[in-house]
C-alpha cells in the first residue's frame, strides 16, 4: 500500500479535518468573538477542497486509496463537487438566521466541515467499513445540527427524532452489512461482487434488502420517509436546506455505488425494491404535500417526491440511468437550496419567519423580486419545460424508457402532474391572492447572491450547462461500470 499516494488522494478530507480541528480550538478559546472569521475560514477550506478535488490529476482514472478502502473516480468527484458546493451555500446563509436567535456559534461551521468529510468518504467508499464510518460521521454531525437552535423546542424535538430514527437506520444498515459480509467473506465491494456472482444465497438476499432499507431511510424514500417532514420543519432553516441538499446527494451517491458495484451482478435482487421505493416516493411525496400549510413541510414532501424521480433513474440500472440520476441531483441541489434560501429570506420586520401559505399571500406586490425567484424555483421543481428542472426529469424518464420500463415512466409522469398542483398553488398564493401584512424585512446580500445563483442555474440559461453536465455525468456513470 502506497501511503503517499493514498494521502494525496484523500488530501481533501484530511485538509478539511485539520481545518475543522483548528477552527474548533479557535472557537473554544475566543468564543463568540471570532465566529465570523471561523465561518469565512470554513468556507475558504471548502472552496479549497472543491478546487483540489476537481483538479486531481487522475480525475478520470479511478485510483484506490488505503489498499482499496476508498476509490477516487469520476463518480466520487462529481458527487463531492455537488456536496462541497451545497455545504458552502448552507454555511453562507446560516449566521444571519441564528443571530436573531442568539445561537450562532463557531461549532456550526466545524460540524458542517466534519459532515463534509464524512460525506466525502461516503461517496468514495468501496469497502463496507469505510462506508459505515463515513455514514456515521456525517449522520452524527447532522443530528447535532438538527437541534442546533437549542432554545427552540421544535429544533430539539427534530434533533431527537432524527437521532433515534437515524440510529435505527444505521443499525439496519449494519445488520445488512454483517449478513453481506458473512455470506461473501469480504468487505470490499469488488470482492463481494465476485463472491455474489459465484453464489448468491437466500441469506445474502436478506443482507441486500436490509442495506437498501437502511439507505432508503437515509435518502428519505418511502416507506422510510416518516421522519422527513418533522425533522425538516423543526430543524433551523439553514440546516434544513443542508439536509435536503448535501447529505441527500451523498446518500444517493452511496446507494448508487452500492447497488451498481457490490450488488451489480444481482440486478434483479434490488431492482424491484428500487422501483417500489421510487413509485411510492413519487406518489406519497405528491399527495402528502397537498394538504400542507407549512412551507417547510411542503418542501420536505417535495424532497421526498424528488427522491422518487432520482430513484427512477437508478431503477433503470444502466449507465444512462445513473447519468440521469447525477444530472437530476445536480439540478435538484440548486432548486432545493434556492427554495430554502428564499424561505430563509421570508421574514417580517421582527425576524419571525413567514412560515405558512397565509403569510406569503400576495407576496408579488410586497416583494416582487423574491416572488419571481420563488416562481422560477417552483416551476422548475414542478418540471415545467422552459426551466431547467424539466431537463432533470426528462433525462431520468428517458433512461427508464430506454430500459423498457415504460410503465414506471408513465406512472412517474402522471404523479409529477399531481405534484405540480402544490407547486402551482405556491405561485397562485403569491401572485393572485390578496396581499396581507407588510413587506418582508430586507435580506442580507449573501442570501441574494446564493438565491440569484440558484435561480440563474434553474432558469432556461441553465440549458447552456447541459453539454458540460451531460459529459461529466456520463463520465461519472461510466466510472461505476468500468469494473463490470
Amino acid at each position: 500500500m502506497d501511503y503517499a499516494a493514498s494521502l494525496h488522494l484523500t488530501a481533501a478530507e484530511i485538509g478539511l479535518s485539520v481545518v475543522a480541528l483548528v477552527l474548533l480550538l479557535v472557537t473554544a478559546w475566543t468564543g463568540a468573538k471570532a465566529v465570523r472569521g471561523v465561518t469565512i475560514a470554513a468556507v475558504a477550506a471548502l472552496f479549497g477542497a472543491l478546487i483540489f478535488s476537481v483538479s486531481l490529476p487522475n480525475g478520470g482514472v479511478p485510483a484506490e486509496a488505503f489498499g482499496g478502502l476508498l476509490r477516487v473516480d469520476g463518480f466520487a468527484l462529481f458527487a463531492k463537487t455537488l456536496i462541497y458546493l451545497a455545504t458552502i451555500a448552507c454555511l453562507i446563509v446560516a449566521p444571519r438566521y441564528f443571530e436573531g436567535r442568539g445561537g450562532y456559534r463557531g461549532e456550526y461551521a466545524v460540524l458542517l466541515l466534519f459532515n463534509a468529510v464524512g460525506m466525502g468518504i461516503m461517496v468514495s467508499a468501496v469497502d463496507l467499513m469505510a462506508l459505515y464510518v463515513g455514514l456515521e460521521l456525517s449522520s452524527l454531525s447532522s443530528y447535532v445540527l438538527a437541534s442546533f437552535a437549542r432554545k427552540d423546542e421544535k429544533s430539539s424535538e427534530a434533533g431527537l427524532k432524527y437521532f433515534i430514527l437515524g440510529g435505527l437506520a444505521s443499525g439496519i444498515i449494519l445488520y445488512g452489512v454483517s449478513l453481506v459480509y458473512g455470506f461473501s467473506g469480504t468487505t470490499s465491494y469488488d470482492g463481494i461482487r465476485a463472491a455474489f456472482t459465484a453464489d448468491f444465497a437466500t441469506g445474502a438476499m436478506f443482507g441486500v434488502v436490509f442495506v437498501l432499507a437502511g439507505m432508503a431511510f437515509k435518502i428519505a424514500a418511502v416507506p422510510f420517509h416518516m421522519w422527513t417532514p418533522d425533522v425538516y420543519e423543526g430543524a433551523p432553516t439553514p440546516v434544513t436546506a443542508f439536509f435536503a441538499s448535501a447529505p441527500k446527494v451523498a446518500a444517493v451517491a452511496m446507494m448508487v455505488r452500492m447497488v451498481t458495484s457490490p450488488f451489480g451482478g444481482q440486478v434483479e435482487a434490488w431492482q424491484q425494491i428500487v422501483i417500489f421505493a421510487a413509485l411510492a416516493s413519487i406518489v406519497v411525496g405528491a399527495l402528502g404535500a397537498i394538504g400542507q400549510q407549512n412551507l417547510k413541510r411542503l418542501l420536505a414532501y417535495s424532497s421526498i417526491n424528488n427522491v422518487g424521480f432520482i430513484l427512477i433513474g437508478l431503477a433503470a440500472a444502466t449507465a444512462a440511468g445513473i447519468s440521469g440520476v447525477l444530472v437530476y441531483l445536480f439540478i435538484y441541489v440548486f432548486m432545493t437550496i434556492g427554495s430554502f434560501v428564499a424561505l430563509l429570506m421570508l421574514r417580517d420586520a421582527d425576524g419571525q419567519p413567514l412560515a405558512t401559505f397565509d403569510d406569503i399571500s400576495g407576496l408579488a406586490t410586497r416583494s416582487p423580486a423574491l416572488a419571481w425567484c420563488l416562481l422560477a424555483l417552483m416551476f422548475s421543481l414542478a418540471g415545467i419545460p422552459p426551466l431547467f428542472g424539466f431537463w432533470g426529469k426528462f433525462v431520468v424518464f428517458q433512461a427508464a424508457v430506454q430500459a423498457d420500463m415504460i410503465a414506471l415512466a408513465a406512472i412517474g409522469i402522471a404523479a409529477s402532474v399531481i405534484g405540480a398542483f402544490y407547486y402551482i398553488k405556491f405561485v397562485k398564493v403569491m401572485f393572485f391572492d390578496e396581499a396581507k401584512g407588510e413587506a418582508p424585512a430586507k435580506a442580507p446580500v449573501s442570501h441574494w447572491v446564493v438565491l440569484g445563483l440558484c435561480v440563474l442555474i434553474v432558469s432556461p440559461l441553465g440549458y447552456l450547462l447541459t453539454p458540460w453536465l451531460g459529459t461529466a455525468a456520463d463520465a461519472a456513470a461510466q466510472a461505476l461500470f468500468l469494473g463490470a
Binding site: G67, R105, E107, F114, L137, S141, F148, T186, A201
Partner: protein
C-alpha cells in the same frame, strides 16, 4: 483439569450474578452484580484464548459502561422497586416467551444442520494460522491497513463530544457576578478612583 474447573467457576458465577442483576432490590447493587458478571465473562474469554476481547470487556464494559450506569442509577433517583412491582406477576409470561424463543432457536439451528434451510455457505477463511497473539494481530491491522478508518472513528467520537457540549453547555453566570482575578490585579488607582472636591450644598456628579 484446571481449565475445566476455571470454566465452571466463571460460568456459574456469571450466571448467578446475572440472575442477581435482575432480582436485586437495590438498583445500585444490580449494577455491581453486572460488573461481576462482566468480569466473569472476561475470564471465560481468556479461557478460549481471546485475550483482547477479555481486555475490552474489562476496560470498556466494567470501566466505562458500568460506571456510567452506576452514575445514572444514583443520579436519576428512579424508583426501580416500583417499576419492578409487576415482575412476579408477569414472570410466567416472560418465561413462556423465553421458552418459545429458545424452541425457535433450537428448531432453526436443527433445521439448518439437517440441511433444510439453505443459507448458503460462508466463504472459507484463507487467513494464515495465527502465530502472534490476537492483540498484536489486531493492532498490526488497525494501525497499518485500517489506519484511515481508525482515525475517522476518532473524529466520530470527537463529533459526539462536540455535540454533547454544544447542546448542553451554557456559559455559567453566578448571581453574585463573577470574580475575574486578572481584572482585579490589572486595576490601577488612576483609572479606578476619582478625586472630587464637592462644594458645600451641591451634589457630586460621578
Amino acid at each position: 483439569m484446571i481449565q475445566t474447573f476455571a470454566f465452571y467457576l466463571f460460568a456459574v458465577l456469571m450466571i448467578a450474578s446475572a440472575v442477581m442483576v435482575i432480582t436485586a432490590r437495590n438498583p445500585v447493587h444490580s449494577v455491581l452484580w453486572l460488573i461481576l458478571a462482566f468480569f466473569n465473562a472476561a475470564g471465560l474469554m481468556v479461557l478460549v484464548g481471546a485475550e483482547f476481547i477479555a481486555m475490552l470487556l474489562v476496560i470498556v464494559y466494567v470501566g466505562a459502561v458500568a460506571v456510567l450506569f452506576l452514575f445514572v442509577v444514583m443520579m436519576l433517583d428512579i424508583d426501580v422497586a416500583a417499576m419492578r412491582a409487576g415482575f412476579m406477576k408477569n414472570f410466567p409470561l416472560g418465561i413462556a416467551i423465553a421458552l418459545i424463543l429458545l424452541a425457535e432457536l433450537v428448531l432453526g439451528i436443527g433445521a439448518y444442520q439437517a440441511g433444510a434451510i439453505d443459507l448458503g455457505t460462508a466463504a472459507a477463511s484463507d487467513a494464515p494460522a495465527m502465530v502472534e497473539s490476537n492483540t498484536a494481530a489486531i493492532g498490526a491491522l488497525l494501525y497499518s491497513k485500517y489506519i484511515f478508518l481508525f482515525e475517522i472513528a476518532g473524529i466520530i467520537l470527537l463529533v459526539a463530544m462536540i455535540g454533547a457540549i454544544v447542546l448542553t453547555h451554557r456559559p455559567s453566570k453566578s448571581k453574585r457576578g463573577q470574580q475575574d482575578i486578572g481584572k482585579q490585579v490589572r486595576r490601577n488607582p488612576d483609572e479606578a478612583t476619582v478625586m472630587k472636591q464637592p462644594e458645600v450644598g451641591k451634589g457630586v456628579e460621578l
